[in-house]
């Protein structure tokens, strides 16, 4: 009797849990569902039934409009031209500095590490005006090169700091054995330390990809011409170009989200681990 009661209580509690957690999840997914539904509706349907009304139409044309007329194709290409080199170069630079700082007793190494981290924590606002003027002086204002440069410089400190933590944890014996075998520092870096840091590099790449890809502030600071805008700032342009055509804007948002969602789904475990890196360290 009491056992039956206990199991009834357990069922009730489980049901309650799923009710609460499920309810919140539905609430959280609702805006995503809504944007997908809106992106598939015609403008006439929106006008007649309201943006928040039930859909009465189906079309894939909005995606074509955002992709071609809205310039999202070019914007996507620009975003990838910026994001891929920026991620690779930042991680490469972060890895070599983290290696030298963590595995060798260089003078002032902790100071250097923290100065680099401090640079990443600065509010970007203080850099906006000088960086845009500097880009003008260098003749790279309004080019993707300027955007790549500032993304590398600004992100570097964080990646160095996280990789430092990882590389320090590698046992010294492995390195000693390599030194006895006559390996030089670059060889130790490339053959031993880097392969052992792969999980951290994977996490950081997934994170860095979304951060750089999703950035708005730097791109509207160093880029003026519409055709050079990466996807995030192009979305803002779409907002102005297709005023109140929510079906096209929704399609544009869906397109802009696809690459980061793909990276997230592909590297889910790494991605979440990467986010948690900062917390437990």
């Amino acid at each position: 009797m009491s056992r039956a009661k206990a199991s009834r209580g357990k069922i009730l509690r489980t049901g309650g849990f799923h009710l609460v957690a499920g309810g919140i999840s539905v609430l959280w997914l609702l805006p995503i569902l809504l944007v997908i539904v809106t992106s598939l509706r015609t403008f006439d349907d929106l006008a007649a039934n309201g943006v928040g009304g039930l859909p009465h139409s189906f079309t894939l044309g909005n995606f074509g409009q955002a992709w071609v007329d809205g310039g999202e194709f070019q914007a996507m290409v620009n975003s990838l031209i910026v994001t891929i080199p920026a991620v690779i170069i930042t991680l490469a630079l972060g890895a070599i500095s983290a290696f030298a700082l963590s595995r060798y007793d260089l003078p002032l190494r902790r100071t250097v590490l923290l100065v680099m981290l401090a640079g990443n924590l600065l509010p970007p606002q203080i850099l906006l005006v000088p960086v845009s003027k500097m880009a003008e002086m260098l003749g790279i204002y309004d080019t993707l090169a300027a955007l790549i440069g500032v993304q590398i410089g600004f992100g570097l400190g964080f990646y160095t700091f996280v990789l430092y933590g990882f590389m320090r944890a590698i046992p010294g014996e492995i390195q000693q054995a390599a030194v006895i075998d006559g390996a030089s520092p670059p060889q130790i870096f490339w053959r031993i330390v880097l392969p052992l840091t792969r999980p951290a590099l994977a996490s950081l790449s997934a994170l860095a990809f979304t951060w750089v890809f999703n950035d708005l502030l730097w791109s509207i600071t160093v880029i003026r011409t519409d055709t050079k805008m990466p996807i995030t700032s192009a979305l803002l342009g779409l907002q102005g170009q297709f005023v109140s055509q929510w079906n096209v804007i929704a399609a544009g948002s869906v397109i802009a989200a696809i690459p980061t969602v793909a990276v997230f789904l592909r590297f889910q475990r790494h991605f979440v681990a990467g986010l948690a890196l900062g917390a437990v360290k």
Binding site: T14, F17, V20, A21, I24, W28, L29, P31, I32, L34, G52, L93, S97, A100, L101, S102, Y104, D105, P107, V112, L114, A118, G119, L121, L122, P123, P124, Q125, I126, P130, I152, G153, L156, T160, F161, R168, I170, G172, Q176, P185, P186, T210, F213, N214, L216, L217, I220, L235, L236, I249, A250, S253, A256, T260, F264, V272, L275, A276, A279, V280
Partner: protein, 309 residues
């Protein structure tokens, strides 16, 4: 302290004697440190110094900058828009920061135990984190439209009088902007807290249960103290993120209507790149920096302590 404490863990091939030390200073290793450091100096440290210098000038970006001393800072005091942006930033910090911390912790505790469906619930809360803030803003802009979901639902419930043009009303704009920002931030904070909660030794709870401690006592006496290091990380992340918040406001309202959703970050941007008052904008940026400074410093002190622990 550093030399003796770090030498064994730093794993140089042998105890760091003077000869060893000189040998490890190979040109390659120096380049490994100096090249990244120079890149960051070029793009971050040097511009930051210039930014502070510019805050003491009056500059339109074309004619030469004129040094005005503390003139820009004096003007900030009598600038009502700056005052509004400052208060909004504080409000943003309290509401956006506070609610994302509470919501993140609450969801982490709810979804901590591995049971059926938990993976899906966590993923649902986390999904918005991968969207850009601009895409997030556009999704919510459609929801807030006069004929959008919020008003439609209110109409269906018979609450027509509550219907609003949420983003166009100066009384609601700031709060309407906070909601999408929270929608995206709570999943992120949840992940930080999940990592922290998983690190708590379960025997602590077992012992407390045996001693007859209530749920609430377990939460205040075990969970919170055990989370102290995660809490301080979350606090720093939240303050730094709040002061940086820009995209979502810019995409939804550009700080308007009538500066009602103006943050320091958006006011700084429009002052610099729309009003072209580069010196004055730099002074606003320095204020943001000063506000963030304490947090940055505590974060660094923690990092300094942990870096070699």
């Amino acid at each position: 302290m550093t030399a003796t404490l770090t030498a064994p863990a730093a794993a140089p091939p042998s105890p760091a004697g003077p000869r060893r030390r000189r040998r490890t200073l190979s040109p390659t290793l120096l380049a490994f440190v100096l090249v990244p450091l120079l890149v960051e100096t070029f793009w971050v440290f040097w511009p930051a110094i210039q930014g502070v210098y510019l805050s003491f000038t009056s500059w339109d970006g074309v004619s030469p900058a004129v040094i005005v001393g503390f003139g820009n800072y004096a003007e900030l005091f009598s600038d009502p828009t700056f005052g509004k942006a400052f208060l909004d930033t504080v409000l943003w910090l309290v509401l956006f920061g506070g609610l994302s911390a509470l919501g993140g912790l609450g969801m982490a505790m709810l979804l901590l135990k591995d049971r059926r469906g938990v993976g899906f619930y966590r993923a649902a809360l986390f999904t918005p984190v991968v969207f850009s803030l601009v895409a997030t803003a556009l999704i919510w802009q459609a929801i807030y439209q006069p004929d959008g979901l919020v008003n439609t639902v209110l109409g269906t419930l018979g609450l027509d009088s509550w219907q609003h043009s949420w983003l166009a009303d100066a009384n609601t704009a700031l709060y309407a902007v906070i909601v999408p920002a929270l929608w995206r931030q709570i999943g992120y904070v949840m992940v930080l807290y999940l990592a922290g909660l998983k690190g708590i030794d379960p025997t602590l709870y077992e012992a407390a249960t045996v001693d007859g401690a209530s749920r609430w006592q377990q939460f205040t006496k075990i969970t919170l103290p055990q989370l102290s290091s995660v809490n301080s990380v979350v606090l720093s992340v939240i303050i730094i993120d709040s002061l940086r918040s820009f995209d979502v406001v810019w995409a939804l309202t550009r700080g308007g209507p009538y500066h009602s959703s103006e943050l320091l970050s958006t006011y700084m941007y429009s002052t610099a790149f729309q009003s072209l008052r580069l010196g004055y904008a730099s002074a606003i940026a320095v204020v943001i920096f000063v506000l963030a400074f304490g947090v940055i410093l505590t974060y660094l002190v923690r990092a300094f302590r942990d870096a070699d622990a």
